[in-house]
Symmetry: C2
Subunit: 207 residues, 2 copies
DNA sequence: AGCAGTGTACCAAACACTTGTTACAATTTC
DNA sequence: GAAATTGTAACAAGTGTTTGGTACACTGCT
């Protein structure tokens, strides 16, 4: 399943360098490219040769930089989610009010997910379309990421009859799927975040 | 990509017959089987030979019943969404209060999505992992389905500062993704639906 | 009653192609 | 000239799809 239907316009970038230190620049570039393709076409929709073509080498030559497609995906998934997690935690540290903290978290995550060449977004939604062996390696990263929101939700003074687990799951599945319906023209990520809080804000004690 | 990792336990059923009238029983059975596989493994994760194996014939023989894999998927998508739409519309007709109507819609849709062998659920989430030519054929069905919720949301007396479009999108993406996190042991679809309303219910005029 | 004809339902085999991956050789770079 | 980088070429397996043929039931005809 090649990806030539969509132009995949963005050129191979190296600017924000989501991938850290120990890897060579060329390897980091390849990871960036692979991440973009995985984000747009999913795990199954991205072939080794697709990645190679955009990186300027043949599919087989990629194996000088990666061990396998699975390992590549796991590494990207980990880097993207860890990066997003740290960005969220840095942002929420600036607030103390629970609702402001949650809104800041939503805003930050939406800004990451909805950036023109986001690398995070469908990596979470593809969970079930990935081989089970890969799923196993994704779980820990995923849990660490969701823990941030678990703590944020636990701080909220919401009514007792609201199930906090469901509340968190709904919020997260909503933020994760934002890339599927977002249209750049309309609302900014910050505005969407504000709307999310408007809906999800409930004070304990109110009817 | 074969599907042998998961057992796919359910035997070829014919009981509820989502697929109507003009098709032969054998063809309906094949559609049911294909729908189950598409629902569990997605479009790309389900091969023609997978479907054939579960239906008891070789992959090539399926082409006596279908025109192409794409056409098969489109037909199933249409039948599943139309069935769900009619179920929701039938249910909400029993209520007049806007919030009761919305809750009934959520409950009905969740019951369909979370049924043991649901045929609808990932058919909507797979939208972006399907060939563009297939996407085009899914749009009309999808729009008709979402229109039900558009009308439901327009009836609601929610505060003016809530964007109704975003409200509807969030609600729908939430209901659609329920199958990804649902665990049969915990809450029933009806209880989840009630929780959804608890969060999404806001009366105009309140602070 | 028996026979030809027709259509359904399926198999066997192949087609052209894509998939992840490997072994090895050639090239570039320092 | 050693080491990092890329190409060549193939592997075994899987992809959607087509073709030709077979077994069988059902029809109409004589």
């Amino acid at each position: 399943m090649n990806a030539s239907a969509s132009p995949d316009s963005a050129p191979p970038t190296l600017a924000p360098t989501l991938f850290s230190g120990d890897a060579s620049p060329r390897r980091r570039q390849i990871l960036e490219i692979a991440a973009q393709l995985f984000a747009r076409h999913g795990y199954q929709g991205t072939s080794i040769r697709d990645i190679g073509e955009r990186a300027g080498l043949l599919g087989g030559s990629l194996y000088h930089y990666i061990k396998s497609k699975d390992a590549l995906f796991v590494e990207i998934h980990h880097a993207a989610l860890e990066s997003a997690r740290q960005a969220v935690e840095t942002t929420i540290a600036r607030y103390t009010d629970p609702w402001l903290r949650l809104e800041a978290a939503c805003r930050t995550l939406l800004e990451i997910q909805l950036a023109p060449d986001s690398l995070t977004l469908p990596l979470m939604n593809d969970f079930r379309r990935v081989p089970p062996s890969v799923q196993d390696q994704m779980i820990a990263t995923r849990d660490a990421f969701e823990d941030v929101f678990r703590r944020l939700v636990d701080e909220l003074p919401i009514p007792a009859e609201i199930d906090r687990r469901l509340y968190r799951i709904m919020l997260l599945s909503l933020l994760n799927s934002a890339g599927e319906w977002y249209q750049p023209g309309r609302l900014t990520p910050a505005e969407i975040g504000a709307q999310v809080i408007r809906i999800y804000r409930h004070e304990a004690g109110a009817a």
